[in-house]
């Protein structure tokens, strides 16, 4: 019997100037790639509020792909550096939630890098396939609510800040 392949659902946040154009470029060049990433166009990767990522995961996404212009090539001069900083903090939060960092990726793709972007998409999809579904909403339901999660965050925070040692 053939086992059905698990198809993860991934939300993409792509900036208007580089990565969204790269995704369009992949279309123009007919570069076939995994259909699992559903893209939201934002003006800049700097617009990606960490809440967007958590919201996507909490609504059933198995992963998130944030894509922006290469560092130093941001259409808004330097906003992707702020994305980078936020992303580092977001990973911290994800850890606290017990979510694998591998589910949320930040990649750079210039408007010309259609093939690189599709490779990144394929790679992420494969990676999340090995992780399996996140089932966050379901996990919450099975769990005894969100309070233990809050405790976990506090513990994580304390150990990070070296409180109480």
């Amino acid at each position: 019997m053939q086992r059905e392949i698990y198809e993860p659902k991934i939300i993409g946040f792509f900036c208007n100037w580089c990565s969204y154009r790269a995704a369009d470029g992949a279309g123009t060049a007919r570069i076939k790639h995994s259909p699992n990433v559903r893209v939201i166009r934002l003006m800049c990767s700097g617009r990606v509020d960490p809440v967007f990522v958590l919201k996507a995961l909490s609504l059933g996404a198995d992963g998130v792909l944030i894509a922006g212009c290469h560092p130093g090539e941001c259409h808004y001069i330097e906003q992707n550096y702020k994305t980078m900083r936020r992303f580092a903090l977001l990973k911290h939060t994800l850890r606290a939630f017990g979510i694998s960092e591998r589910r949320v990726r930040l990649v750079w793709a210039s408007a010309a890098e259609a093939s690189q972007l599709t490779e990144a998409i394929n790679e992420l999809v494969e990676d999340i396939r090995t992780l399996g579904p996140l089932r966050w909403p379901a996990n919450w339901a099975e769990d005894d609510g969100h309070l233990p999660a809050v405790d976990r965050i506090l513990l994580e925070h304390q150990s990070a800040m070296e409180i109480g040692r």
Partner: protein
């Protein structure tokens, strides 16, 4: 009151309908909440397709439109206009990109259809949260900056100047003219380059509407369409432009001679004070600080002593000019591939291997040899010459693209050799590509004229003789693919058709102007076919070889086209720009000032009395970084609000949260907010 949403699914011929089950999407979209009309159509962007949407807006009293078709980069404007024409605010439209992001990149019909459903659900959820917005009118400053004084930039400047609009033409070198000024003849007509270029150059120099800024470079660009502010560095010339008469006495008497690597491509000399060539525009020389004896040793100043109008000014400093312009045309041109990168062709090691630019200078009657074609020793006339095509182009190791002009260039140079000497001329090519008006005829002329064509990519150029007749010659090793044989062609001289590459600093310049480059480094146009001179940044245009390898006719055409686009905007007087900007609710702002430093455009002011921050919409570019950062949620990004993006996320995941309870998701969100 519930919104009345219309969903329109485009077949795009078979582009979408061939992969996506459009009928199923249309049926399914009709079942979504608040969707009152759901239709499919062969080509929505056609006038009939647009009319259908407009009729529904009126007839069905639609308040929101979703168009599932191609990328918004292609047709968002089209459908916004269709909405506006039917009396609906154009920002109440959302496009679902089901062509570039689905049908063109997905193999399997079911998966493609599923993905389209998600994209449509996302668009429907989002569009219901859209707010009507009014585009902001911006006055267009009639001044234009043209960067680069080659033939493309010259053409653009003249078109604008002749139309009565003021132009700043900025050129890095001491004179305009670009690469074209280096050539002797131009293909396919073989008319003299100087004869057709220099009249245009002097026209630029004397034009009442063109302010020529040579020996100057672009430092910085700020602002946006209609009102750019640019900073230009005027490098110190050490010659006062307002006083110099261009008599040339200083050049004649300057005791320092150096190799001219730029204009003469290393084939000839210039003085430390120089104009690149006699017909330079402006005719005012510059002192090259790096080679001037005065700057080196603190002695000399011969030029200063002899200058009749006392125009030499050793105390000049670089000057920064601040200009205000409405539009920018980049015409920065190209650089020649460094042929040393292919060591087996021997350039730089074997004396009689030349680059195409060196050879151009040698052929030029006013060049270093006075137009005589001779070997590196300066006297021997070659008996045989081999032209090597595709040096660094069509080569996976260097540049994969075709440089486009080299086939014709090779034919032109072959013709010049045969005209001026008795030499046998070989050309080793991969494919001959003379593909424009009168080019093929020129090729035939050379075929009939006895130029020898060898089809094959050259493997090596060497001076290691194996046979007596190869002694003292350069041997070109090539597989003649028409004969199916390896050949060793002994010649006296080899000319390498180096690839046309983007300027070494093209990427840097592009970044300053806010436009991006392809992998190879060419500037990317807005649309490959339909918008070849505009870029993704409004008000910035490209012309000539900075966009890709181009010959003279194409560069001229593009220069004129870019100028026409700019003229259109200046004539209209105002442009409408998207109102996608951030705004801060004074009631919710806590005055923490986190956003203040996040804005690279200084668009956020802190009002000290009210203790709140405020966005200046004229400066805001709408990136949304401050929106994402505000801890109080007081900043709204128009058209990309938290509400709108959040709704899109929910819609995109319509099929994902079936097994969990969506209510829990709300919990998660509030939790996250509490944590931050």
């Amino acid at each position: 009151m519930a919104e009345r949403v219309g969903v329109y699914v485009c077949h795009c011929g078979s582009n979408i309908a061939g992969v996506v089950d459009v009928a199923e999407i249309t049926r399914w979209a009709g079942t979504l909440e608040d969707v009152v009309v759901s239709r499919e159509y062969k080509f929505l962007c056609s006038s009939l397709g647009q009319a259908m949407i407009a009729d529904d807006i009126r007839g069905e009293r639609l308040t929101r439109i979703v168009v599932a078709a191609c990328s918004p980069h292609l047709h968002e404007k089209t459908f916004r206009r269709a909405c506006a024409n039917a009396g609906l605010n154009p920002f109440l439209l959302q496009m679902a990109n089901i062509r570039e992001h689905v049908s063109w990149v997905t193999k399997e019909k079911q998966t493609a259809t599923d993905k389209v459903k998600a994209l449509v659900a996302g668009a429907v959820a989002r569009v219901k949260r859209h707010c009507p917005l009014e585009p902001m009118p911006v006055k267009v400053n009639p001044h234009t900056l043209v960067l680069g004084g080659g033939i493309a930039g010259i053409q653009a400047a003249l078109e604008l100047g002749d139309a009565g609009y003021p132009v700043y033409l900025v050129e890095r070198e001491p004179s305009i003219g670009g690469h074209m000024a280096q050539y002797d003849k131009t293909f396919p007509t073989l008319d003299c380059a100087a004869c057709i270029l220099t009249p245009k150059m002097s026209e630029v120099g004397q034009h009442e509407n063109i302010k020529l800024l040579t020996y100057s470079e672009l430092e910085e660009v700020s602002g946006s369409i209609g009102n750019f502010k640019v900073r230009i560095r005027r490098k110190a010339r050490y010659v006062r432009e307002d006083v110099c008469t261009g008599c040339g006495l200083c050049i004649e008497k300057c005791p320092r001679k150096v190799v001219d690597e730029v204009f003469e491509a290393g084939m000839g000399y210039r003085k430390a004070i120089y104009t690149p060539f006699p017909q330079a525009v402006p005719k005012i020389p510059v002192i090259d600080r790096g080679s001037c004896i005065w700057f080196e040793r603190g002695k000399c100043r011969v030029c200063e002593k002899l200058c009749p109008p006392s125009a030499i000014a050793f105390d000049q400093q670089d000057e920064i000019l601040e200009l205000e312009v409405g539009n920018i045309i980049l015409a920065t041109g190209w650089d020649l591939f460094d042929c040393r990168r292919i060591p087996q062709y021997g350039y730089g090691r074997l004396a009689n291997v030349f680059t195409s630019l060196e050879f151009e200078r040698m052929c030029n009657a006013s060049g270093p040899t006075g137009g005589r074609i001779v070997l590196r020793d300066g006297v021997t006339v070659p008996q045989s010459v081999c032209i090597v095509h595709c040096v660094g182009s069509r080569d996976a190791n260097y540049n994969t693209y075709c440089s486009g002009i080299c086939c014709m260039l090779s034919l032109k140079l072959g013709h010049l050799v045969m005209e001026k000497t008795e030499a046998k001329v070989y050309a080793c090519y991969i494919d001959m590509r003379p593909n424009k008006k009168d080019y093929e005829e020129f090729y035939w002329r050379l075929l009939d004229g006895g130029m020898l064509f060898v089809r094959g990519k050259v493997a090596e150029v060497t001076d290691m003789a194996r046979l007596p007749q190869e002694e003292g010659k350069l041997i070109v090793q090539v597989e003649d693919t028409l004969l199916g044989k390896q050949r060793r062609i002994p010649v006296d001289m080899v000319v390498l058709m180096g690839a046309i590459e983007p300027r070494r600093d093209a990427r840097e310049t592009g970044l300053k102007a806010g436009i991006s480059c392809s992998m190879a480094g060419w500037y990317i146009e807005r649309h490959v076919k339909l918008d070849p001179v505009a870029t993704m940044t409004e008000g910035v245009f490209i012309a000539g070889a900075c966009h890709g390898p181009k010959d003279i006719p194409d560069s001229v055409a593009q220069g004129a086209a870019a100028a026409a686009r700019v003229q259109g905007m200046i004539t209209k007087g105002t442009v409408m720009i998207e109102p996608v900007v951030a705004s801060i609710s004074a009631d919710n702002c806590s005055g923490c000032r986190i956003c203040n430093n996040l804005c690279p455009f200084n668009a956020i002011d802190f009002l000290t009395e009210e203790k709140v921050s405020k966005v200046n919409p004229a400066l805001c570019k709408g990136c949304g970084t401050c929106v994402a950062a505000c801890p109080a949620g007081a900043i709204t990004g128009a058209h990309f609000s938290n509400d709108q993006v959040g709704a899109e996320i929910e819609g995109l995941l319509w099929d994902a949260h079936g097994d969990g309870q969506p209510a829990m998701a709300e919990d998660a969100l509030t939790l996250e907010l509490a944590v931050s």
